[in-house]
């Protein structure tokens, strides 16, 4: 860990200003950043602690949906009554991640911005295009069982590790951003950037911009939603595959469908094509299988992660079937 300065402003605008110093980083829960600093992966010279900014810690009702402050702890969001009733998959997704202790510290915005668990990224003495642009990607020809099959490029095949973001993807959440005295909002589906030739760029956030809140719009189908995470052990492990899904079924026919994947994409992965296949069709296993095929159609596999394609399809079918109580 390298020496750094530390500031704790009480206004978002002050934090945004401080963030313009070169090589500065926001710290909220610190559950990811501190790890990466200890590993010498992140080397910020200035830490801006935003925990004193009270307005960022609230959950507000918002037009039938929710406005979740950037600092709301993962535990508080997961156990929020509205979330449990109206967006169960969001609660399930959060609770499937990390451990209770980590969730008690981790923030909403921090969860959205957590870095990949790719082995090569997390070892500061190995090449990695995401950490050290142009140094190469050893994962492509290396050990890649945990790596992505969707949205990969010749530069990077690292997965996005967030569970929460997968549910928010399916829910069409909107990210509220503040910086340089201006405010803007970006749909989460446009927030993450595919690695392409620049895996170091992960989101559309610009220098000095801070996430202030996450808006979760009202969605009838979300009451009937589920998050299913498949991993190598039962807890405290990142997803091999995860599925966030919601269905609005009337008289056996799917009126609205939401489907997003985790553990398989370089970004939290929304399956729009698969959703189109589901809508208007009977809520049956056959339909779900068609949707699953569509979801992984563009998959590109590597030596050790070929199994993820089949596992992904089966997990999608299982999650949707469970939602409809189908065997």
């Amino acid at each position: 860990m390298r020496p750094f300065t530390y500031a704790k402003p009480s206004q978002t605008s002050d934090a945004s200003k401080s963030l313009k110093q070169s090589n500065s980083a926001i710290i909220a829960g610190g559950t990811n950043l501190l790890d990466l600093m200890k590993l010498d992966v992140n080397q910020p010279a200035h830490l801006i602690d935003i925990n004193k900014i009270a307005e960022l810690s609230q959950i507000k009702n918002n037009k039938g949906g929710l406005l979740v402050g950037a600092l709301v702890k993962n535990s508080d969001l997961a156990h929020n009554k509205q979330v449990l009733e109206n967006f169960p998959m969001l609660s399930q997704a959060i609770l499937s991640g990390a451990s209770a202790q980590v969730r008690n510290m981790a923030s909403t915005a921090g969860n959205l911005l957590q870095r990949t668990r790719c082995y090569y990224f997390r070892n500061s003495t190995m090449p990695c295009n995401k950490r050290d642009p142009g140094s190469g990607c050893p994962a492509i020809d290396g050990y890649n069982r945990i790596h992505a099959i969707l949205g990969t490029s010749d530069s990077c095949i690292a997965t996005n590790p967030s569970d929460m973001a997968v549910a928010l993807m399916a829910l069409d959440a909107v990210i509220h951003i503040e910086g340089s005295g201006a405010k803007r909002s970006v749909p989460i589906t446009k927030f993450y950037v595919l690695p392409g030739a620049h895996p170091e760029k992960e989101t559309v956030l610009k220098d000095g911009e801070i996430i202030t809140a996450v808006e979760i719009p009202q969605l009838a189908a979300a009451k009937h939603s589920r998050y299913l995470k498949i991993r190598d052990r039962k807890s405290f492990a990142f997803a091999l595959v995860s599925v966030a899904c919601a269905l609005d079924v009337k008289n056996g026919v799917i009126k609205e469908a939401r489907l997003a994947l985790g553990g398989v994409g370089t970004i939290p992965w929304r399956c729009t094509e698969a959703e189109k296949i589901l809508v208007g069709k009977p809520a049956k296993k056959e339909t779900f299988k068609l949707a699953a095929e569509a979801a992984v159609k563009s998959a590109v596999t590597h030596k050790h992660n070929k199994f993820k394609v089949e596992l992904c399809k089966r997990t999608i079918v299982k999650a949707l079937s469970a939602l409809e109580n189908l065997a």
């Binding site: 860990m1 390298r2 668990r117 082995y119 050893p138 020809d141 290396g142 807890s235 596992l311 299982k318």
Partner: protein, 733 residues
């Protein structure tokens, strides 16, 4: 004198709480990394990032510039050390520029604080000339070695070829187990403190005495000048049986900066340079009659090793001793590659070896159409098949019987894929387990003071298994004192010599020494009373004397005397004796503990996820000194076995020649949510031959066979025979 406890209030065997439990849960137990000395400096190591080649330049200027940095030691400026035969595990420590594996410690930075040392270590710039052909993959080499072994196998009893001719059914299969890292919760830590030419080392070790010897030879310091202390150990599992390079670096650094130095390895620094279980490749051939009698067995094994230590993982050990088969051939070879040195890891040889053997026995049972327990019972060895000696005790048959009954084996339908629970495929598996009972010479001091408190001192370290507690129990029984009147001090080379804590031998070795010391103390106490003219017990017959709760009494008389009165009158603040217990040289008996592992799994047919739902172990391990700590040992072993079956694997990137999953997030061990329901049964054994305390080793027994029991259960559930661990879901859907 009888070995039976005086007064019949035995605490040996009772499930009493750990005597050090409160210290541990309240944070008062001082582990090596908790030691803080005045004016102490901190050290951090720099590790190589290539697996083979040379250091062409090592630039320490930037690191040395950081305020608070006291010294940076590299091969360029470290004191020259003599090559030590004792040190097979390490490459020369800071002596040359050659890199033999990734993670080799190549520099140590010493600074005023831990943070400064860690930061400065990141600033050391190393330039390498990497070797053109580093090899970290043992797979191709193993094939060549197997061909060699097939041509000229090694150790044999009987005639394997003839035995196979008599076989009606044959099984031939190859099993593989991965590289595994010990990952004790407590990281390696060394605090080195020089006072003149005397050195005290607070070390994370499973053997203070072997450490003293190693440090002496590796660092060139007279052994008499060294004290090694380990009051508590947060797990070792074999990797802390050796002194590794970082400890010597701490010793050298402390000498250099003339201050005490603390060096604690980071978790990521413990993958490679401080030992691991080597990857193994095992070929097993079994032949049996139609009735299920083994006619021949062959077990060939290859394990990876480093280029500088020919470490043998004795996977063939269980095959040599488990079954009554007249014709057995076993052989082992090593594939040497650019990795750190492997070392013993909890149930070395037996854990990976029993996975292969007990899986093969299951395959044989299916091939014969015989129940897997029945097959094992048919081949029970009623004496040691290797030496021909009788067992000191062997309750394996009882383990099968009692274990099967409690597990509900009779309700198992034998056919594969025949049992379901809802949508889950259910499978039940079994495997036999054995572990050698080791015992080494050990010493102990026993003393009693006038307030009636006894103290036991012995060099041995409590590695977390409960040694403080069971030694107090053993002493309490012999001295007729309640356990809270016994103080136990361990983990210090100034106390009597004891062996390392490995091979589950501590209870037997040190227990025997404490038994001897406590008896000798009692003897000395009686002598004192008999010879004391003023004692009411003077001139008594020794056999008539008893000592209970601090009072000496004479059978059939009302004469008695308090310990305090006797000692005070003789101007003795305490009475102290030292004793040693030595195992017999030529043993008439073969000594092993035995057990049977049962596992039940549920497998999700669509996703291949394995849920271990039940594990039961029936174990026969001599006298159980403390049912609670022994049960914890067995649970730990079973969990370790489950983790080995489903999760544990150190992943090597052969292109980079480096381990990639070097943390707890990606090196998986079981978490609470993975735990099945556990059942531990101890079959009572009175074994007068095994050793004076009557105990056999328990710790590692519960690992052996566990992986096979689970893999066999998975086969029963799914019909898929998986011969490689860890078994992950992608192998099952």
């Amino acid at each position: 004198m009888s070995t039976k406890p005086q007064g019949g209030n035995s605490v040996v065997g009772k499930p009493i709480d750990r005597v050090d439990g409160k210290l541990k849960v309240t944070g008062q137990a001082k582990y090596s990394a908790d030691i803080s000395l005045p004016n102490m400096a901190y050290a951090a190591v720099v590790q190589s990032t290539i697996s083979a080649g040379k250091i062409t330049a090592i630039d320490t200027a930037e690191a040395e510039k950081v305020a608070g940095v006291l010294a940076v030691l590299t091969h360029q400026n470290a004191p020259r050390l003599k090559k030590s035969d004792n040190d097979q595990n390490n490459v020369p420590i800071l002596q040359d520029n050659i890199i033999r594996f990734a993670g080799q410690n190549i520099a140590v930075v010493v600074a005023d604080t831990f943070e400064i040392a860690t930061h400065a270590a990141d600033l050391v710039k190393v330039t390498y000339a990497p070797s053109k052909s580093p090899n970290t993959n043992p797979d191709p080499l193993s094939n060549t070695l197997f061909e060699q072994m097939q041509k000229s196998p090694g150790q044999s009893r009987g005639d394997f070829v003839a035995g196979m001719k008599n076989a009606a059914v044959k099984i031939e299969a190859t099993y593989t187990t991965p590289t595994e890292t010990h990952n004790p919760m407590e990281p390696f830590a060394t605090v080195a403190h020089w006072e003149g030419d005397k050195l005290t080392v607070y070390e994370t070790t499973q053997g203070v005495f072997p450490s003293k010897k190693s440090i002496s030879e590796m660092a060139g310091i007279p052994a008499n000048n060294i004290t090694v202390i380990t009051h508590f150990l947060g797990g070792g599992f074999g990797c802390k049986l050796s002194v590794w390079s970082h400890a010597i670096m701490a010793v050298l650094a402390a000498k250099q900066v003339k201050r005490p130095v603390k060096l604690v390895l980071k978790r990521t620094q413990m993958y490679g340079p401080v030992g691991f279980r080597p990857k193994t490749f095992q070929q097993i051939t079994l032949g049996a009659t139609k009735q299920g009698k083994l006619t021949a067995m062959k077990h060939l094994s290859v394990n990876e090793t480093s280029l500088f230590r020919q470490f043998t993982e004795y996977c063939t050990e269980p095959t040599n001793v488990m079954y009554a088969c007249p014709n057995v051939t076993t052989a082992i070879k090593q594939a040497a590659i650019n990795i750190g040195s492997p070392t013993w890891m909890r149930a070395p040889g037996d854990a990976p070896g029993s996975f292969a053997l007990e899986s093969a026995m299951d395959e044989l049972a299916y091939a014969l159409g015989i129940d897997p327990i029945e097959l094992r019972v048919k081949n029970f060895a009623d004496k040691d098949p290797e030496s021909g000696k009788p067992w000191s005790s062997n309750s394996l048959l009882e383990c099968y019987k009692v274990g099967a009954q409690r597990f509900g084996w009779a309700k198992r339908s034998p056919a594969i894929k025949s049992m379901k629970r809802g949508k889950m495929q259910v499978g039940l598996g079994v495997a036999a387990a054995t572990h050698p009972t080791y015992r080494s010479e050990a010493g102990a001091i026993a003393s009693i003071s006038s307030d009636g408190t006894a103290t036991i001192k012995s060099g041995t370290q409590d590695i977390g298994t409960g040694t403080y507690t069971i030694m107090a129990q053993v002493a309490a029984d012999i001295l007729g004192l309640p356990i809270n009147k016994i103080k136990v001090e361990l983990g210090d080379t100034r106390f009597p010599q004891t062996p390392l804590s490995g091979g589950s031998q501590t209870a037997a070795s040190v227990g025997s020494a404490v038994t001897a010391a406590a008896k000798k103390l009692l003897d000395a106490l009686f002598d004192l009373a008999i010879g004391d003219e003023k004692s009411p017990l003077q001139k008594s017959e020794k056999k008539d004397l008893e000592f209970r709760n601090g009072v000496l009494t004479k059978k059939g008389s009302k004469s008695s005397e308090k310990i305090g009165d006797l000692l005070k009158r003789n101007n003795m603040p305490k009475l102290e004796v030292t004793a040693k217990s030595t195992p017999p040289k030529d043993d008439k008996y073969a000594k092993r503990s035995f057990g049977v592992q049962f596992a039940e799994v549920e497998v999700e047919p669509d996703l291949g996820r394995v849920h271990v739902t039940r594990m039961l172990g029936a174990y026969a391990a001599g006298k159980i000194l403390n049912e609670k700590t022994a049960r914890s040992q067995m649970l730990g072993g079973m969990i370790w076995g489950m983790g080995m079956t489903l999760f544990e694997e150190t992943l090597m990137d052969h292109k980079l020649g480096r381990i990639v999953n070097n943390d707890f997030a990606e090196y998986h061990i079981p978490v609470h949510a993975d735990m099945p329901s556990f059942d531990v049964i101890f079959i009572p054994e009175e074994d007068p031959h095994v050793n004076p305390v009557g105990a056999k080793g328990v710790g590692e027994l519960a690992i052996n066979g566990a992986a096979a029991a689970i893999a066999n259960a998975i086969y029963h559930a799914t019909g898929k025979r998986l011969r490689h661990i860890p078994i992950t879901l992608d192998q099952l859907f």
